[in-house]
């Protein structure tokens, strides 16, 4: 009974590993597409980089909707709908599904940066999110 606290810790560890494997596989794939090593610091800088969003006439970044603290929920800029935290440490669902990762890169890179993300940018973003 004394070691009951281990259960949630183990569950957390297991879930962190689930996203870990997916992220590693993605990063390997990006390398095949020509990216270098994944760098979480560069990922963070990109995360906060401001870009002009022509359709709404505002400067936006990833944090416009997801926030700066990835362990906290974000809020959709337009609809106000809650966006669950991105950090796999608090939201085990994150980075656990490659198809979902690619779908949202596809949508959000275009909206935020005005173009598709490069393989390098994707690798950096994943490393950054995974580190949270």
């Amino acid at each position: 009974m004394k070691h009951l606290w281990l259960i949630p810790m183990l569950l957390l560890a297991a879930s962190a590993q689930a996203s870990e494997a997916v992220v590693q596989a993605q990063i390997t794939q990006y390398k095949q597409q020509g990216s270098g090593a994944a760098d979480p610091t560069r990922g963070m800088a990109k995360w906060n980089e401001q870009h002009m969003q022509a359709k709404i006439g505002k400067m936006v970044s990833c944090s416009s909707c997801h926030g700066n603290d990835l362990t906290q929920a974000g809020e959709h800029l337009r609809t106000g709908k809650r966006i669950d935290p991105m950090a796999p440490s608090v939201n085990p669902d994150r980075l656990s599904d490659p198809a979902k990762i690619e779908k949202w890169f596809g949508r959000n890179c275009e909206w935020t940066l005005g173009r598709d993300c490069t393989a390098q940018e994707k690798a950096d973003f994943l490393a950054f999110i995974q580190s949270k």
Partner: protein
């Protein structure tokens, strides 16, 4: 003679008060939006509106499609397909790369499958009284992309001041159904269960 007159006047007043109360009661009753209240009657589990029962209602068939719910409600309320006619859904699903200014593109099998669901449950396809109110308020040659652009929606919300919706940080927009309609996800839009954040209930 005098006390007698006083008593008569007293009972006269009581009678008058009674009449006024009763007539006010009927007024409120007939003014209520959902007499013959069916609430969730149309929001049956299998998503099919109960055919043949056309009582007045403020309920719409619930969203039953998991794919639609997953893909679309990541960003916004999963609007019940019954709120727009089939032609609107076709237009929306054909322009996902510019979805109200945002990129909401899907892979083709998913897109086609969701479009199929929306078309099959559109307001002019399933028989539901509440849905028909929306569809009928749209010009035959128009295919609005927003439910809030339909005349019926406008009629139902026009008395609500901007400070309660647009300028209310907890609501922001009429597109945020569930902010005020607590039963929205269950397809229930009964006026009496409306709670506007920071303003409370709304009755007109």
């Amino acid at each position: 003679m005098k006390p007698r007159l006083k008593i008569n006047r007293f009972w006269g007043m009581v009678l008058l008060a009674g009449c006024i109360t009763l007539s006010m009661g009927t007024l409120a009753w007939s003014d209520s939006d959902d007499w013959g209240k069916s609430g969730n009657k149309y929001a049956s589990e299998d998503g099919k509106a109960d055919e043949g029962s056309w009582g007045r209602t403020t309920g719409v068939a619930v969203v039953t499609n998991k794919q639609y719910r997953n893909e679309c409600s990541a960003c916004h309320f999963a609007y019940q397909p019954g709120f727009l006619p089939e032609r609107s859904w076709v237009k929306i699903m054909g322009s996902l790369d510019d979805h109200f200014g945002e990129n909401a593109k899907l892979d083709e099998p998913t897109r086609a499958s969701i479009e199929n669901y929306l078309r099959g449950h559109a307001g002019d396809v399933l028989p539901n009284r509440f849905s028909r109110s929306f569809v009928r308020s749209i010009d035959a040659d128009a295919a609005p992309l927003r439910i809030s652009q339909t005349a019926f929606f406008h009629r139902k919300h026009r008395e609500i001041p901007a400070r309660m919706v647009k300028d209310n940080l907890k609501v922001r927009s009429f597109s945020n159904c569930a902010a005020c309609h607590g039963g929205a996800d269950q397809g229930s839009f009964d006026e009496h269960s409306v709670r506007i954040p920071d303003f409370g209930s709304w009755e007109d």
